[in-house]
Symmetry: C2
Subunit: 533 residues, 2 copies
C-alpha cells in the first residue's frame, strides 16, 4: 500500500501488530495437509517441526549428531536437559506451563515447543509415551505445531519461513518478496523508534542469529548455559564439590579457556556492538547430578567417595533456591569464580581486538541487593582487569553494571548507581520477588488467577506495570538522578513483549533485550511505542 | 534515683536501654554454681532451663505430660516439632542460625533455646548425642543458658525472674522490689509513648502471658499453629489429601470446633482488646508427613492406598515453597478453608460476647499481592459472617484487613487500602522477598555478610529501613492517602526490636506487635522513640 501511495510509511508501521511478525519467522505445517492431532498441549514456542521421538537429552544429542531430526519428549525438562534441547528440533512435555523450563528455553532458542500436554503419559522405562491409547515409541516420527499446540504422529511436511531463509543466508533477498516487505517495514520502524533493541544470547551462534534479525547488541549473555555443554559440566562439578580454594581454582582453570573461546566468538559476532555478560547466577545445586547413576559416575570421575559426594550434594540443597546462595552471593563467597569469569571476558576481548574486532564488553553483576555487594565484586573484576590488561599490554574500555532483579536493588538504586555504570532490569526474577511468585510453582494457581480475572495477564509474559513497573520507575528515576548518563535496559522476557516494550519506552529506557527471534517484534513494538507516545 | 529526686521520670525512662529488660524476664542459672559447659551454641532465646534430654517431639510431649521437665534435642526443628517445643522447657539444636525454626519458635514462646551447636552429634538411632567425646543419652539431665549459649550436663539450679513470678501470679508485687521498679518504669514509659504495643500469640495461654506483660491486643494470631496440636494434624491432613470439595469440607468440619474453642479462649484472654487473626498461611506441604513410617500410618488412618498418598504428597512439593501456593492463594483455590476459618472466628466472637466479653476481631488475609485477591477473600468472609451473625441473631463489629508482606502489596497499597480496613506489615516475609533472601537458606552466607560489613545487621532481626522500610513508608503514605483512618501496625519479629520500633514510630504506625516476652521491651522502646522524635 505504501508503494501504491495509499498510506505513508508511518501509517504502515502503525498498522502491523508487532506480535504478527512472529508468524513470519517460524516454519509452519503445510496447510494443504489434512491430519488429526494426537493431542493438544500449550503452544509454548511457535514454529512447526518434525523429528523422531527421543526420551532423554543424551539420546537426543547422539541421534542429532548422527544426522537425525529428533524431538525431545519429557515429562518436564530441567537445566540438565539443556544439551538435549539444543540438539532437538522441538520439545514436547507432559507437564509445565507457558513459563516452564522447556517453554522458556525453547522460546529463547526460537525452537518449537508444545508443553503441558496433559494426556501424554511418558513411560521412561519402555522409552515410549501413551496418549489416549496410541503408543509412540522411541524413533517414531512426530510433528509439532508450536503455534497451536497440536501434536501429530508422523512426519508432516513443513514450510520454512522465507524471512529466516534469507537471514540465514540460504535464500537471496531478491527472490523473497515477503522478506523484502518485512525488511522494508522494519527499516521504517527503525527510523521511528527511540529504544535500542538487543538480544539475549548465550553462544556465538545465537549472537549471529540475533544480529541477522537486527539486534544492536547483546543485552544478556548467561554464562551458566556454557557450563552445561559437553565436558564443561564435569569441570563445573569438580569446582563445586572442591572443599577448598585450591581445588576450586584448579577446576576453574579448566573452565577458563572454554569460557574465553565462547566470549571471543560472541564478541566477533557482535563486532562493533555492546555485549552484556552476566556473571554466574544460579545456585550451585543446579549443576549437580540428581540421579543415583549419574552421581556414581561423577564420584568415579572426580575420584571421591560416593558418600562424600552425596553429602556435598545434600549440603547444597536449599529450601527456596530462588532466594538462596546464588548470583553475586556466590561471587562474594568464592571470589575466584568472579576472577575466572572476569579474566575470560577480558582476555577474550583482547584477543578479539587484536583480530581487528571492535569489542564493547559490559560486565553485569547479578542479584545485587546492596551497593556493598556490587562494590565487592567490582573490586574483584577491576583487579583482574588490571592484571590481564597490564600483562597483555592493552587498553580496553569496558563497563561494570548490575542486574536490577530484587526489589531492594530498585529501592536503593540511588546508592547502587553511584558505583554501577549500567542497570539491566532482570524482570523475570524481579517479578518473582515483587509478587512473591515462584515461576516454577505458580502453575498450580496462576492459570486460574488469569481465568478469574484476578490477574489480567501472566506477569511473566506481560510486565506488571503497577507493581514491578513501579519499582522499575523508582530505580530509573533514582539512578539517573545520581548518574544522569546511566545506561538502562531490560533483559527479562518482557523485553520482547509489545505492551511491556511500550512501558519501557515511556520510562525512557535505553534499550530492551529479548530472545533473538523476538528482535523483529521488539523493533516494531518500539516504533509503535514512539509513535503512540 | 527518681524517688531520691536525682532524676525525673522521663530521664529514668531514657536511661534504661530497652534491650536490658530482657534480663528481668527470664530465669538465669544460679551464679554461685561453678560448672564447665559441655559446649557452646548460639544464644537464640534467653533464659535458663534444666530438663531431661529427649530426641523427638512425641517423647517430649509424653514425658512432659507425665510431669517431667524435658529439653528437646534435635539436629534442627521443623513445624512438625511444634508440639515438642511447646512441651519442652528448652530446645537445643545442632544446626541452624539465630533465625532458624527452633530459634524463632522458642523466642516466640519466650522459651530458652540454644541452636547451631556445631560440636553436637545427634545419634537418633541410639537416642543420644555426642559432644566432644561425652555421650548424653535420653533421660540424662541437661541445663541450657539461652542468654549465653552454654550447654551443661546435669540439673543446675536456676533462679526464676522476679517479674515473671509476679506477672504469673505466684508472687505478690509487694514482696517484689525489682518488679515494682520494672512496673513503675514501664508505667512512666506508657505515659510517654504514642505507639501501641500488641503481642503475637497463637493460643489462649500465650494471650494471657502477653496481657500480663502489658500487651494491648493481639497483633498476630497464626491459626496454623493450632493445626499441629494433637489430633488436629490428622484432620488437617485429611483436608489436604481430599481430592474434592466434599472431602475437604468433611475434614474442615472436624477442625471447626477446635479453632472456635481456641479463638474463644483468646478473645476471653483479650477481653476489651483487639485480636488480629491471620487466615491459613503456609503451603499445605508443610502439614504433611515426610517420613516413610508416618506416611504409612497416615495412609492407614485415612484409609487410602499408600501409593496415592505418596503421589499427593509429591504433587504438593514446591521448588520455592516460600513463593508458592500459600496465603490467600490457598483460600482462593479452596474457599471452604476461608469459610471455615471465618465461621470459627465469628462463632467464637458471638459465644464470647454472650458471656459478657468485649470482642474486637480483626480478620487478616495473608500474602495479598493485588486488591482483587483481597476482594475475593473479603467476599467469602462477609458472606459467612452474614450467615453466622444472621443465624445467631447477633451483631458484631469486626474489621477485615491484610498483611502487607509482598513488595507488590506495598507498591499497590493505594488500591488495597480502598478495600482493606487495616494493614499489618509482615516484615519477616517482606524482608525475604525484598532482599530475595530465604530465611531458611541464608545461613550459608548471611553470617559472613555481617562479618564483612556488607550488611550492618541481620535484616531478620533489625528492620532494613533503606529497602524494606522504604516499602513500608510507601504503603503507609499511599494507604492513608485513600483511607486516612487506616489502622497500621507491624507484626514481624522487628516489632520487638528497639531500633525497628523507633522507625515504626517515625512512620506514624499505630502499633507494633511482638512476642509476649518482648512486650515490655517494646513498651520501653516505644517511649524512647517518642522521646527522641
Amino acid at each position: 500500500m505504501v508503494s501504491e501511495g495509499l498510506i505513508d510509511k508511518i501509517e504502515a508501521v502503525r498498522r502491523v501488530p508487532a506480535g504478527q511478525l512472529d508468524q513470519l519467522l517460524h516454519p509452519i505445517i503445510d496447510p494443504s495437509i489434512r491430519a488429526t492431532p494426537l493431542c493438544l498441549g500449550l503452544p509454548a514456542s511457535p514454529g512447526a517441526a518434525s523429528g523422531r521421538a527421543v526420551f532423554d537429552p543424551d539420546t537426543a544429542e547422539q541421534r542429532a549428531h548422527a544426522g537425525e531430526s529428533v524431538i525431545l519428549v519429557r515429562d518436564e525438562t530441567t537445566p540438565e536437559d539443556f544439551h538435549g534441547i539444543v540438539a532437538a528440533r522441538a520439545v514436547l512435555t507432559a507437564r509445565g506451563g507457558m513459563t516452564s523450563h522447556a517453554a522458556v528455553v525453547a522460546r529463547g532458542m526460537g525452537k518449537c515447543a508444545v508443553v503441558g500436554c496433559k494426556e501424554l503419559e511418558v513411560d521412561l522405562e519402555h522409552r515410549s509415551f501413551n496418549v489416549n491409547g496410541t503408543v509412540v515409541a522411541e524413533g517414531d516420527w512426530l510433528t509439532l505445531d508450536g503455534a497451536t499446540g497440536r501434536v501429530f504422529a508422523g512426519d508432516l511436511s513443513t514450510i520454512p519461513s522465507e524471512v529466516v531463509r534469507v537471514t540465514s543466508g540460504t535464500m537471496s533477498p531478491s527472490q523473497a518478496p515477503l522478506y523484502q516487505s518485512y525488511s522494508e517495514l522494519l527499516g521504517w520502524a527503525d527510523e521511528v523508534r527511540r529504544l535500542r533493541v538487543r538480544a539475549n544470547a548465550d553462544t556465538p551462534r545465537d549472537a549471529r542469529i540475533a544480529r541477522s534479525f537486527g539486534a544492536e547488541g547483546i543485552g544478556l549473555c548467561r554464562t551458566e548455559h556454557m557450563f552445561f555443554e559437553g565436558d564443561r559440566i564435569t569441570a563445573m562439578r569438580e569446582m563445586i564439590v572442591a572443599r577448598e580454594e585450591g581445588g576450586r581454582r584448579r577446576a576453574l582453570n579448566k573452565l577458563l579457556p572454554m569460557q574465553r573461546a565462547d566470549f571471543e566468538g560472541i564478541f566477533e559476532a557482535m563486532d562493533g556492538l555492546p555485549v552484556t555478560i552476566r556473571l554466574l547466577d544460579p545456585p550451585l545445586h543446579e549443576f549437580l547430578p540428581h540421579g543415583g547413576e549419574e552421581t556414581k559416575l561423577l564420584a568415579r570421575t572426580l575420584d571421591i567417595p560416593r558418600a562424600d559426594l552425596n553429602r556435598i550434594i545434600e549440603s547444597l540443597r536449599e529450601t527456596n533456591p530462588m532466594l538462596g546462595h546464588r548470583g553475586c552471593r556466590l561471587g562474594i563467597s568464592y571470589p575466584e569464580i568472579t576472577e575466572m569469569q572476569g579474566r575470560a571476558i577480558l582476555e577474550a576481548a583482547v584477543r578479539a581486538m587484536r583480530r581487528g574486532i571492535v569489542v564493547k564488553p559490559e560486565i553485569m553483576i547479578p542479584l545485587v541487593s546492596t551497593v556493598k555487594e556490587f562494590d565487592n565484586q567490582r573490586a574483584v573484576i577491576e583487579d583482574v582487569a588490571n592484571r590481564v590488561l597490564g600483562g597483555m599490554g592493552e587498553k580496553i574500555s569496558y563497563l561494570i553494571g548490575t542486574m536490577i532483579e530484587l526489589p531492594r536493588a530498585a529501592l536503593t538504586a540511588a546508592q547502587i548507581a553511584q558505583s554501577a555504570e549500567f542497570f539491566s532490569f532482570g524482570t523475570n526474577d524481579l517479578t518473582q520477588t515483587t509478587l512473591g511468585l515462584s515461576r516454577d510453582d505458580a502453575g498450580r494457581f496462576l492459570p486460574s488467577y488469569i481465568e478469574r480475572g484476578i490477574l489480567a495477564d501472566d506477569p511473566f509474559q506481560v510486565l506488571d506495570t503497577e507493581g514491578v513497573g513501579r519499582l522499575v520507575r523508582i530505580a530509573v528515576e533514582d539512578g539517573r538522578r545520581v548518574r544522569p548518563k546511566l545506561k538502562v535496559g531490560i533483559c527479562g522476557e518482557h523485553g520482547g513483549e509489545p505492551r511491556s516494550i511500550s512501558f519501557c519506552h515511556s520510562l525512557g529506557l535505553d534499550y530492551v533485550s529479548c530472545s533473538p527471534f523476538r528482535v523483529p517484534i521488539a523493533r516494531l513494538a518500539a516504533a509503535h511505542a514512539a509513535l503512540n507516545a
